[in-house]
Symmetry: C2
């Protein structure tokens, strides 16, 4: 039973000029309808899940033709592509349309693939993981937020956005739901971004 049956997304006028668009994990038919109402996109990123891959593959593939970046977890990447090897899975998904695929691996971090770049980053190791709910969505939020504020879609800019997404997700899991995000400051985010640099640096 689809409780959203009959629902039609209708964007408020002020939203139709959004430049950085994240299509959350809903029915691909609705994602397409949201896209239809937008007119100023600089970047469209999309999330999906096993249910839509299995039940709405045809519509999902139409969405994939219309977006720049797909954000997906590793098991969904395998399901969507039919490949168990994650590199092969990513390459196959790139052929479906997106210019880039971001593969979320939970506590193990994120892999980014495009035709010209492979980037791997660990997750921030935490001594207390209270509740992983929302980690993936807040990763996407931090990623989009950094791109929107920096306007930098260079290879380095996209990689830094991935790290900011990982930083935001690391705060999310420190408390229930989105509670930690309601009080985290930009200064704390920047501080953890610096720690992330130290976490991964092997040059100095």
């Amino acid at each position: 039973m689809n409780v959203l049956a009959g629902f039609e997304p209708k964007l408020p006028e002020g939203y139709r000029d959004a430049e950085y668009v994240f299509l959350g994990n809903i029915d691909p038919v609705m994602q397409l309808e949201v896209l239809r109402q937008l007119r100023s996109m600089k970047l469209v990123v999309c999330d999906t899940m096993d249910h839509w891959i299995r039940e709405s593959e045809e519509d999902l593939k139409k969405v994939l033709q219309r977006i720049e970046i797909l954000v997906i977890n590793d098991s969904e990447a395998r399901l969507l592509s039919g490949f168990d090897n994650i590199v092969k899975a990513a390459r196959a998904i790139l052929k479906m349309g997106p210019k880039m695929v971001l593969i979320k691996r939970g506590e193990y971090g994120v892999l980014q693939f495009s035709d010209s770049s492979v980037f791997a980053t660990p997750a921030y190791p935490l001594e207390e993981v209270f509740d992983p709910t929302g980690a993936g969505d807040s990763f996407a939020g931090g990623f989009m937020g950094h791109l929107a504020r920096s306007g930098d879609q260079s290879q380095g800019g996209l990689r830094r956005a991935i790290v900011y997404g990982s930083v935001v997700a690391s705060f999310t899991v420190e408390d229930f739901g989105v509670k930690r995000l309601t009080d985290v400051s930009l200064a704390e985010i920047e501080e953890r971004y610096q720690k992330f640099i130290n976490l991964t640096d092997f040059h100095s």
Copy 2:
């Protein structure tokens, strides 16, 4: 049944001055006996496994008092420490003696913990993983080999050794057993090390 019962390791005279010592995954009693025969160690690194953690915990803890670095996989770290959270597990193991613990996470990379450093590095993503046998041991070999050639035990030097270990392991899994390692060249290793820099860089 212990097929090695009664076996006593006896190091050839020329080996007793080894400076960089890796105690492979054998009975902790034998690891202690090997240590007793050495006289010029600059660095002692040790591997172990679930069997010794369960069956020879007391002897293993004597070994941990005598070494600088423990190399272990994530499930073994949890078993040895009693903590499910990997950061807590690492902190608990550091209290048992080693100055540093390296936690191997297979295709997800390596975490390093010491009192002054936390370092995380992904594994090199491969399109073909032929046989993961020996990946952990060749990680340790590449790690030790780089330290022995560089003599650099600074924080950065240890981190670079971890990346070299990951590079060597990435070659190991490309063919059966150690076959790929018998023909890999130093130039290929250095080339993949450079690719590893590009894989993880988000500064440029």
